[in-house]
């Protein structure tokens, strides 16, 4: 099913009254909309995260991934340049690279031994001239026209991005100044990998895109944040939206904690858990930046987030695996300059997030609960009016859904939904 416009949907789609404060449930469940997203978003004018530069440090290294559902491979060539192309042989369409990661001089499809260089150019066709003068490809077959389909690639702060569209501006203009600056703060120095795992969450990918932007839920659902005063709405913090609203940062400054009575008065579940850690080294941390920000989640359209909780730095990449299934990757990193003690603290704080994260594990199921709750009611809508109906940055409050409204602003534009 290839769809390129909302006009081609079997059931017409219009955005409900109320703009981005109303989110149609249908967007989470309709397979046609999911198909349309593949074309308009993932093949459209966005920068898709492909891998970390440290995944492919050496000449010949490659890493496979997907852009939406499209299989893609990122490579580093002999000159050190990074490339990306669709991981699909120009001959029959078989996957070329089968392993998740590897190193090769040529990428060879195992089906008929067609081989491609690290830029994706077709270099060799088995039995091109046939055998004993018989068979083979026609004389006028031009191998220069049968390379792997390329993506434009840009590396920014150790993140390798790819796009299928000629219309996508540079990564820095796509993200805008405030977003680029904050990525540079967090990732703008040599990185080192610490570990990786992924999580299958049984919900549409956009529910996680909302969830990761949802500063309102973070301290209500996630008890651990609240109890141990890692992230609460009564700390100085805010939401910064990109100029175009598509991307955003939620941040908090732990040192500014000023206990608000509402947590106790409203009997917030997450403030009921009164505990002192028997193993307090779990939360040992050091102040890394002079700006005082100790917790941040930066969400980049369409499906990437960068987490910096205390000293735990991770790239979260959530990949659609069907209309109601998403694979959420956690790439934990530190800096090359980290000493042993700093690495130890980052590793220990890894307990806070991930599939088993003391603060984040609820996100593994909460989006599924929305998916299950909205099933069978495509005409229904969700609400996003916390913090008002505007889609603007919020300087001093994170009791807002402005960042979610920002995501839907971008989504509605790129999907061209009237």
């Amino acid at each position: 099913m290839v769809l390129s416009s909302v006009d081609e949907l079997s059931e017409p789609l219009r955005w409900p009254d109320g703009g981005v404060t109303r989110i149609p449930y249908r967007l989470y469940t309709d397979p046609e909309i999911y198909a349309l997203e593949q074309q308009r978003i993932f093949r459209g004018p966005v920068w898709n995260f492909l891998c970390l530069e440290i995944d492919i440090p050496n000449a010949g290294d490659y890493k496979t991934t997907t852009v939406g559902e499209i299989p893609v491979v990122a490579t580093r060539d002999e000159n050190g340049d990074v490339h990306a192309m669709v991981n699909r042989c120009a001959h029959k369409g078989a996957l070329v690279c089968l392993k998740e990661k590897g190193n090769a001089k040529l990428l060879t499809c195992i089906y008929h031994s067609w081989s491609f260089d690290l830029q994706g150019r077709l270099k060799g066709v088995a039995f091109r001239n046939g055998l004993q003068g018989k068979g083979g490809l026609p004389q006028d077959f031009d191998i220069s026209e049968h390379g792997l389909e390329p993506l434009r690639v840009e590396v920014f702060c150790g993140l390798v991005f790819g796009t299928f569209s000629d219309a996508t501006p540079t990564v820095e203009s796509y993200l805008g100044k405030p977003m680029s600056k904050f990525i540079t703060r967090n990732l703008g120095r040599p990185l080192k990998p610490l570990g990786m795992h992924s999580q299958i969450i049984h919900n549409n990918w956009k529910l996680y895109a909302e969830n990761v932007r949802d500063s309102y839920h973070a301290t209500l659902l996630h008890t651990f944040y609240t109890t141990f005063k890692i992230n609460r709405l009564d700390m100085d913090g805010g939401i910064v939206l990109a100029e175009d609203k598509w991307h955003s940062i939620s941040y908090a400054k732990r040192a500014t904690f000023d206990e608000a009575p509402e947590y106790a008065e409203e009997k917030i579940h997450s403030a009921q858990y009164d505990a002192n850690l028997a193993g307090p080294t779990l939360l040992e941390s050091w102040p890394e930046f002079e700006d005082g920000i100790t917790h941040s989640i930066q969400a980049l359209f369409p499906n990437l987030a960068i987490q910096f909780t205390l000293n735990s730095l991770a790239v979260r990449f959530f990949v659609p695996r069907g209309v109601d299934k998403t694979e959420l990757f956690w790439f934990y990193v530190g800096y090359e300059r980290d000493d042993e003690e700093q690495t130890r603290m980052r590793v220990m704080q890894g307990n806070l997030t991930g599939a088993s994260g003391l603060v984040s594990l609820e996100d593994g199921c909460i989006n599924e609960f929305v998916q299950r709750g909205t099933r069978g009611s495509p005409e229904g809508t969700g609400l996003a009016e916390m913090g008002g109906r505007e889609v603007e940055s919020s300087d001093h409050s994170r009791a807002t859904e402005t960042s979610i409204r920002g995501f839907w602003t971008g989504y509605r534009q790129i999907m061209d939904i009237a």
Binding site: L194, G195, G279, M348, S356
Partner: protein
């Protein structure tokens, strides 16, 4: 029967009892399977074989293990489920310096509220076991998951 054979039987018993306790939901005693400064880690095979330090869960000492259990019982929110551990026969080495190494394959089936019983985790335990007051304790238990991928979330220890 040598002392070594006695140790072997005790180690096999503790590896079995550990799994049964988790399957039975008897998690309060989980930290006591470890030496006071014992280490518990769940890590993917890919990360472990790459020699990288960051797994999915890490506890150093019984205090951190007790914190995990307390958070799980009182703080974290998730759909309740059960595990059923299926263990392979343990290979046990060492013992000359008082510490034994054991390797045991496992397959853990998880049953959710909707009644589905599905394979949740498969891998191996790599254990270092010491005897204190005649009791075998995990000085270190590394849970190496074959897959990098966890379905939904991982809250009960494996």
């Amino acid at each position: 029967m040598t002392a070594h054979m006695d140790a072997r039987a005790a180690i096999e018993d503790v590896i079995t009892a550990y799994a049964h306790d988790i399957d039975d939901g008897a998690l309060d005693g989980w930290p006591d399977y470890f030496a006071p400064d014992g280490i518990y880690q769940i890590i993917t095979r890919e990360t472990f074989e790459a020699g990288l330090p960051m797994g999915i869960m890490l506890c150093e000492g019984r205090g951190m293990m007790a914190d995990r259990i307390q958070a799980m019982q009182t703080a974290n929110i998730y759909e309740a489920h059960n595990y059923c551990h299926l263990l392979g026969r343990s290979r046990i080495d060492g013992g000359s310096d008082g510490a034994f190494q054991a390797r045991t394959n496992f397959n853990i089936v998880r049953t959710m509220q909707d009644g589905g019983s599905e394979m949740f985790a498969v891998g191996k335990y790599l254990d270092t076991i010491v005897f204190q007051d005649g009791r075998p304790l995990f000085q270190e238990r590394r849970v190496i998951l074959e897959s990098r991928r966890v379905d939904i979330l991982l809250v009960y220890p494996l």
